[in-house]
């Protein structure tokens, strides 16, 4: 490591002394500069931060006291010595007052000079160290202030509401989100708020405040702040301890869980709907069996066979419904592994029509089809797309009239592969059309009475189409027929 050499400037008009002192100090490992008059000395001491300065009191241009003043002004930490042959008590006092470390009478012995300079240098090191400490402390204070304001900014930016009450129930901190949630716009710090908070929230806070032997336990509750799931928050209250472990207050965090609650509600609605849809066919089967088994009713073997057949159909429908529900649930949970392949929609539609040939024959339905040549590919899961068209074309058969027709057309329009499937079936009333894609909805009228179905087919179709950013449109005229148009975006 390189040795640190004290930097010294000698300001003296007397050349012999300047050079002699420089040599002496250099041999003692000082780094020495010299100036032959006051003004040069001042300039040099301003330019370089010298550790030490030896200033001759009497110089021809300006006097040493002025030089001292100027150097101290620019470099207050440079340790200065006044050297003079005209020593007087008064000048010594004045020089020291002006910031000189000490006063060296001329002529001086090398020992005298070195003793003084060494003491001065020690002083210089002390000054620098205390300066450094002071600077560090100031920096840390600044950091602390910055940290506090940053913390405030963060707390104020939180989407969750946060507020803190002390153990007297006075508000000591809050952020804007908290005020928004509990709608207390006029609240101020220091206010007692337990009485004005929603009762459920106050209760939680009081529970913690009222237990002096509090454990580090968080209490939480769900609070409906606006009725009918308008605003539901989850509140979590935790004790805030003093450094000694005693209770200082309570911090409360409010999170908006309205959306989750809404989803939960829709889900529970769906579950109760599913339960009903499953229950009805079971009740029908059970009812038939009760009738067959009831000796008082004296059913004929023919009646019994009819009831058993109808029971079988209901159970078959139940199995289909469970399968559809499982499909929907897989789609919802996205657990179904999709195998994305480049598909030709025209071929899939054609294949579906072929697959349903038997059903078509049973009702004597004719299919006319028109497929655009060189259709672009659609990247999707083959099973899902086949399911989509099986449901749509299956419906076009099921709800068609005997000897009716189905027109199939596949073509491109803008960014979509469009499949249009038009039937000459029973059609729909506008009010039924509106509910067509809802789960379990089935049109009920004299025509549909004998047609079985789960009420889930079109809901599945819609889910599949939308999961590929596609859509489905329906036109229909009651007793005349319906047209389903499916738009699927093609892969460019």
């Amino acid at each position: 490591m390189e040795e640190i050499r004290p930097k010294v400037i000698i300001i003296d008009d007397e050349k012999g002394l300047r050079i002699g002192t420089q040599r002496l100090l250099q041999s003692e490992n000082f780094d020495v500069d010299t100036a032959e008059n006051g003004l040069t000395g001042i300039q040099m001491a301003k330019d370089v931060d010298y550790d030490l300065a030896i200033i001759d009191l009497k110089m021809p241009d300006i006097d040493g006291i002025t030089v001292l003043k100027e150097i101290k002004k620019a470099r207050p930490n440079t340790v200065c010595f006044i050297a003079t042959a005209y020593a007087s008590y008064d000048t010594a006092i004045e020089a020291t007052k002006l910031g000189a470390f000490t006063y060296i009478p001329k002529p001086f012995t090398p020992e005298e000079l070195l003793r003084n300079l060494n003491a001065g240098y020690e002083r210089r090191i002390l000054i620098l160290e205390s300066e450094r400490l002071k600077r560090e402390r100031e920096e840390r204070l600044l950091e602390l202030a910055f940290e506090k304001s940053r913390l405030n900014t963060i707390v104020n930016s939180l989407a969750d509401g946060v507020f803190v009450v002390n153990k007297d129930g006075e508000l000591v901190l809050f952020n804007p989100a908290a005020i928004k949630f509990i709608e207390l716009n006029d609240i101020i710090l220091g206010e007692r708020i337990l009485g004005i908070l929603p009762p459920k929230i106050s209760e939680l806070i009081e529970k913690i405040l009222g237990n002096p032997a509090f454990e580090n336990k968080t209490l939480s509750a769900e609070v409906e702040l606006k009725p009918d799931r308008g605003l539901v928050v989850e509140i979590k209250c935790s004790p805030v301890p003093h450094p000694d472990g005693s209770l200082a207050g309570v911090v409360a965090v409010l999170s908006n869980i309205t959306e989750t609650k809404k989803i939960e509600y829709v889900k529970s609605q769906f579950v109760s709907m599913v339960a009903h849809e499953l229950k009805t066919p079971m009740a029908a089967v059970l009812g038939f069996l009760n009738i067959i088994l009831n000796p008082e009713l004296k059913t004929t073997p023919q009646q019994q066979a009819d009831y058993l057949n109808r029971s079988k159909n209901r159970l078959q429908g139940l199995v289909e419904m469970v399968n559809d529900l499982l499909d929907i649930s897989r789609m919802e949970m996205k657990t179904k592994q999709r195998e994305l392949k480049e598909l030709n929609i025209g071929e899939i539609v054609k294949g579906t029509v072929d697959f349903l040939e038997l059903e078509l024959k049973k009702k004597g339905i004719t299919v006319t089809s028109k497929y655009q040549e060189n259709l672009p590919v659609f990247k999707a899961d083959n099973n899902e797309v086949t399911r989509l068209f099986t449901n749509i074309i299956g419906n076009a058969i099921k709800y068609n009239k005997d000897n009716g027709t189905i027109d199939v057309e596949v073509y491109t329009n803008k960014n979509y592969i469009v499949t249009r499937i038009a039937d000459t079936g029973i059609g729909m009333k506008p009010e039924d059309k509106a509910k067509l894609f809802s789960e379990f909805f089935r049109v009920k009228n004299e025509y549909t009475r004998s047609i079985g179905g789960t009420g889930l087919g079109l809901s599945i179709v819609k889910r599949i189409a939308e999961s590929y950013s596609g859509r489905i449109e329906v036109e229909s005229e009651y007793t005349k027929g319906s047209t389903f148009t499916i738009y699927l975006p093609f892969t460019k």
Partner: protein, 139 residues
């Protein structure tokens, strides 16, 4: 049980499930009642007005989830309808284990019916309750 010497009581039976409608018609007829049926709220109201039944047995959940309630209210608000017993059929009990009952005055006001029955119905319980209601009303 209806007395064979009197004219059989006429029951309006409403359900949108054709199997259940047929089963319940058969069961009611086996107890000696005359049964008129309807499969929607609309046709039920028309049949009610035309036939003036002695009692109504309604499925709770028809096309909309509260159709049975609405129909029950409508019948109970009718000048003739308020004089006859109205029963509601539900499938909720079997699935949820929930037991419906019309006990408090408040419930009676809200659920405008005289009794609840679970599906499939126990015809003995239902006809006993019907007879009870007829008896109370004739007093």
């Amino acid at each position: 049980m209806s007395d064979k010497t009197k004219t059989p009581k006429k029951i309006l039976l409403v359900d949108d499930d054709y199997d259940l409608l047929e089963q319940n018609r058969m069961l009611l007829e086996s107890k000696g009642y005359t049964v008129v049926t309807a499969d929607s709220v609309e046709s039920a109201w028309k049949t009610f007005k035309d036939e003036k039944p002695d009692a109504a047995v309604l499925d709770l959940i028809m096309e909309e989830h509260d159709s049975g309630f609405i129909l029950a209210h409508k019948i109970k608000r009718d000048a003739y309808g308020k004089t006859i017993p109205v029963f509601l059929l539900t499938s909720a009990t079997m699935v949820t284990g929930m037991k419906f009952g019309v006990t408090t005055g408040e419930e009676k006001e809200w659920i405008n019916c005289d009794a609840w029955f679970n599906k499939p119905i126990n015809i003995d319980e239902l006809s006993t309750k019907l007879e009870e209601c007829f008896e109370t009303r004739s007093m």
